[in-house]
């Protein structure tokens, strides 16, 4: 079902071609995806760009690479239930946000990273939502209201951008398959850009209410060069009645 939905979205979609001046090129003018990763003025890797998860299997299952997910019993039962109903009740089916990392996993909808000195933005094409990762040293607030995308702070650990996010509600699904989480979810993301065309994410899911121990998954993103996000507003359940499921 997801592969079909993705194929339809790609056929409908028409991104603009915007040859960007900062794109390194091979002699034939194509983007040089193996060129070195760009750097910011302060010498850190610059993660800015349009990115896309090229493999839909992670949207279906972030543990697709044979990860043995250490479910708590209630979470195993909920996951099984969601699997058996083909994920019919996932939030995005009702125009509610994809969460972390789910929003980055939809192959048909790229996301854009804008890295600035004090804050790194992630703009999601999907639903036109954004996420802010504060790098101005502010720390996590003492109290946060539960939110879909959490409250994120980031720091550099060598060439890895390390993001801590807390303050989630318990409503998002980690993937379309329905890996659940609770409001105790603490997401730790380590982003690296080994070259111009590639971004790697190692995500640690720490949620003692839902999983017996923290667990990790690794997801790769490909640069979507010379392009720009399109607007993709979720129009209010127009399609909800056509969702397939039991």
């Amino acid at each position: 079902m997801n592969a079909l939905a993705t194929a339809i979205a790609i056929l409908l979609t028409q991104w603009v071609n915007v040859p960007l001046p900062n794109t390194p090129r091979t002699p034939d003018g194509k983007p040089n995806l193996t060129a070195p990763a760009p750097k910011t003025r302060d010498g850190k890797p610059d993660l800015s760009g349009l990115w896309r998860n090229p493999d839909g299997k992670y949207l279906d299952n972030i543990a697709a690479d044979g990860i043995d997910v250490p479910f708590q019993p209630w979470a195993a039962a909920l996951y099984k239930d969601r699997q058996e109903t083909f994920s019919k009740d996932r939030p995005s089916g009702r125009c509610l946000p994809h969460g972390v990392p789910d929003a980055m996993l939809v192959p048909a909808t790229p996301f854009k990273i804008i890295q600035t000195p004090g804050v790194t933005l992630i703009l999601f094409e999907n639903q036109g939502h954004y996420r802010q990762i504060f790098t101005d040293g502010r720390g996590l607030p003492k109290e946060t209201q539960p939110t879909w995308l959490g409250y994120s702070t980031g720091r550099w650990d060598g060439d890895a951008f390390v993001i801590d996010t807390v303050g989630f509600n318990d409503q998002t699904w980690l993937d379309d398959g329905g890996h659940p989480h609770s409001d105790a979810f603490h997401a730790m993301e380590r982003f690296r850009r080994p070259d111009f065309g590639r971004l790697d994410l190692e995500l640690t899911i720490d949620d003692a209410k839902t999983y017996t121990k923290p667990w990790k998954t690794t997801i790769h993103f490909a640069l979507f060069p010379d392009n720009e996000l399109m607007e993709s507003v979720c129009e209010n359940e127009l399609d909800a009645k056509r969702l397939v499921g039991k």
């Binding site: 603009v16 509610l96 703009l123 036109g128 720009e228 209010n236």
Partner: protein, 245 residues
């Protein structure tokens, strides 16, 4: 409407976050009349959390203009919407406020993040964003009709001038429902005279809906030492409670 605004204000709990770049007076309070910050290339830096200074522009973007120069069909549609107290406006179904409507909601601030190649507007409301490209690209030859349009910006002295086209005809310019067509072209002129104030002059050019271009001016105040909170429109939950005819 005012009830909704008050409820939202009571529910809203912005964090207090003393930011290092805020200029301060001797007593530690933000110095709102300090000079506007500048970027490394000497342009005014519009970055910050902003809020409309006066809620009446949400109620009527033409509040200071008198009557907008409607085409007849647009006058009739506006009257119908205003008579129905704005019921049926897109935002009540969690569909975006548009330009400039999304910046007019007093209890939902917005944040500007100005970078060398683009200016991003993050709206608290609905957690939506808008991009304004300042990297010299022009408009694409074709754009899909969209809620926020396709925006490019350039500096004229200390003014950021933003041109936007590619709108759909669905958004309302304000809550009572000044309409527009897909021919709408908006020119916005942003100025930040000091740390605490930003002014926007906005010209609506839409010959299908208005007999001539017209201009509104709206003021914004900095919302210092705070951060946006997430505000997701949860899918018509409140739709049944909307007031209107």
């Amino acid at each position: 409407m005012s009830h909704l605004a008050i409820i939202a204000m009571l529910l809203g709990q912005w964090v207090n976050l003393p930011l290092p770049n805020t200029p301060r007076m001797a007593d530690g309070k933000p110095d709102l009349t300090a000079p506007a910050p500048k970027t490394q290339d000497g342009k005014p830096d519009l970055s910050g959390v902003w809020r409309i200074a006066d809620g009446r522009y949400l109620q009527n973007i033409a509040a200071d203009v008198g009557e907008a120069p409607f085409q007849p069909w647009a006058a009739a549609l506006y009257k119908e919407r205003a008579d129905a107290l704005g019921k049926g406006r897109p935002s009540e179904r969690c569909i975006p406020h548009g330009v400039p409507d999304a910046m007019l909601v007093r209890n939902s601030p917005f944040k500007i993040v100005q970078t060398p190649g683009e200016v991003v507007i993050l709206y608290e409301e609905f957690n939506h964003y808008r991009q304004i490209f300042t990297d010299g690209r022009g408009f694409p030859p074709e754009t899909n009709a969209s809620w926020f349009g396709y925006s490019i910006g350039k500096w004229e002295g200390d003014t950021l001038v933003v041109d936007t086209t590619g709108f759909n005809d669905q958004s309302w310019l304000d809550d009572p429902g000044h309409p527009h067509s897909d021919a709408l072209r908006i020119t916005e002129r942003y100025r930040r005279p000091n740390f605490g104030n930003m002014s926007l002059e906005i010209t609506f050019d839409d010959s299908k809906a208005y007999t001539k271009p017209w201009t509104a001016r709206v003021p914004f105040n900095i919302f210092a030492d705070t951060e946006l909170i997430e505000s997701i429109c949860e899918n018509e939950k409140d739709h049944a409670h909307m007031v209107g005819k």
